[in-house]
Amino acid sequence: MNRVSGIENEYRKLYLPGVVIVLLLCLVPIALLLVMSFHRLSLGMPWLSAEFTGLTNWVWLFTNPNQALFKALGRTFLFSFGSVTFEFLFGLIIASLLYRNIWGANFIVTVFIIPTVLTPAMVGMVWRLYFTENSIIDYLFNLLLHLDINWMSLEFAMISVISVSVWQYTPFWVITLYAGMKLLPRSPFEAAIVDGASEWQRYRFIIIPGIFPIIRLLFILRIIQNFIGFDMIYSLTGGGPGTITEVLSIYIYRLNFFNKMVGPGASSSLFLLMIIIMISYFLFRVLPNEEKE
């Protein structure tokens, strides 16, 4: 008994410093946000000029006539789920193709690491140049599909933003799903072949369930990453044209650093934080893990 609690004590000594550091780094800024959300203040030395204003910031955030917050929330959902849906579809298709022992599969998977690790701020900037009129994307769409699209127009800007996200993270799905397929045990396949299962049946009833835990994890991970994402959209469109690609993270940026409305900025930051907590809680609940520990 004593020995067990002694060991337990040792484990606590190991994890406590790390947990305390992380919690400090996390709770102090959040507490500050909470304080700021009840004050009117300015960006420089805000503690000197802060003035308590009660719920004013919160009320303004939810009731301002533009409804900018809810519009931004809607765009965040559109961006996040739109991007993840196509990443998943393309990722699954490409990984499944590679799994058929396609010549060069290992090379392809290796090179596919590149888009995934690229700096998102740089990615946005480079694609901004690609989407410019008469630039490479215009040229290729004209040449191959006879389509003339204004990528930064009101109609297409969100599609452009989602496309860049799909471009960058589909390879990540491919790499991970392909690795997951490779790790599946061989014996169910052999049994299925003996039983005369068709290729499609083997795919549907062995491979897909086998990689389901990975699909689930990637879904949750990528949806949350997209809710958090700022860098790529900021450098690609900056939320524009107008506010058509202004997701929540961009809206927070605009309030804080562009409109210098630090109070409402803090409220909207906390709002995004709450949305992310709810989304992740919801996702972990709705997408059940079949092999629960």
């Binding site: 040792e10 484990y11 606590r12 000594k13 190991l14 994890y15 410093p17 790390g18 947990v19 992380v22 919690l23 780094l25 996390c26 800024p29 959040i30 500050l32 946000l33 805000p46 490409i94 193709l97 058929r100 396609i102 010549w103 998977v109 290796t110 596919f112 690491i113 590149i114 888009p115 700096t119 701020a121 740089m122 900037m125 480079v126 140049l129 008469n134 490479i136 040229y139 390879p171 990540f172 790499i175 991970t176 690795a179 997951g180 790790l183 990637l218 949350i224 958090i228 700022f230 860098d231 900021y234 450098s235 927070i252 804080n256 630090v262 995004l272 934080l273 992310i276 907590i277 992740s280």
Partner: protein, 278 residues
């Protein structure tokens, strides 16, 4: 596998072609970026685009010498390396403790740490900005290193924990019987044995720290800027210096691309970690 037959070959060929087509589509933007970085302004504006041209190093020379590239590269390297090392010094014992403890609150603590990983940088950067102002740390590398730990420690803990859960406690216990403390046992026995796991995790942590944009953009002025934040150096009014931008993007991403490709085995494993029980 199956024997080669003509009908099978006919069926397979389109699948090969589709796969290669996907590959070309997804890799083209990256290689076009590198290609464009060797073009002159005139060649960049050409329509239709030129594919064969006399390459120029002009863009790279300008980025490196006119835009002070080495200073920002050094900043990026210092932030990413120091942050990764610090994150591991803190995360290795924390992950081990959390993996092995039988505390009632184990689950809650782990999820709490995980939750920190989900905090949007743009939401808390204003707080970090104020904290840095108070501490006089605006425009310093140390503020970037410290604040970035909020994301890199949880990431490292989360990835490492998966390895430590399956690690036999018998090994550390026997070391403890020989008089070593648990901390020493981890340092001398666990760390060398899970070195591949640490390498796998370090790729993700390092890339995360290297690619950080929000902190480095909003709590620095000029001195402590890192490479990702140099994007606005190439905006002149509403114009963008295309060639320089392509060269800067190529240079900024090159170290992490090389790092990730060299450690591709660990990169792939890291992605599936936590999802598969081996």
């Amino acid at each position: 596998m199956k024997p080669f037959t003509v009908s099978r070959a006919i069926r397979e060929v389109p699948l090969y072609l589709i796969t290669y087509l996907f590959f070309v589509i997804f890799m083209f933007p990256y290689f076009y970026m590198i290609l464009s970085s060797f073009k002159t302004p005139l060649q960049l504006m050409a329509y239709p685009p030129t594919w064969i041209f006399q390459p120029t190093l002009e863009n790279y020379i300008k980025v490196i010498f006119d835009k002070n590239f080495f200073l920002y590269a050094k900043n990026s390297a210092v932030v990413a390396v120091v942050n990764t090392v610090l994150a591991f010094v803190i995360a290795i014992p924390a992950a081990y403790g959390l993996a092995k403890t039988s505390s009632r609150h184990k689950g809650q603590i782990t999820y709490l740490v995980l939750f920190c990983q989900m905090i949007p940088p743009i939401a808390v950067v204003i707080s970090f900005f104020i904290i840095a102002q108070m501490l006089g740390l605006i425009d310093t590398l140390s503020s970037l290193i410290i604040f970035e730990l909020l994301w890199t420690i949880p990431l490292a803990v989360w990835l490492l924990r998966g390895y430590f859960i399956n690690f036999p406690t018998a090994l550390t216990e026997s070391a403890q019987v020989d008089g070593a403390s648990l901390f020493q046992a981890i340092l001398k026995i666990v760390v060398p044995m899970v070195a591949p796991a640490i390498l796998a995790t370090s790729i993700f942590v390092f890339i995360r720290a290297w690619n950080d944009f929000v902190l480095a953009f909003f709590i620095t002025v000029m001195k402590a800027r890192t490479l990702p934040t140099t994007i606005d150096f190439y905006l002149v009014y509403t114009q963008i210096e295309w060639g320089l931008m392509f060269a800067a993007a190529t240079l900024t991403t090159l170290p992490i691309v090389i790092f990730a490709i060299l450690n591709r085995r660990y990169f792939v494993r890291g992605g599936t970690m936590g999802a598969i029980k081996e």
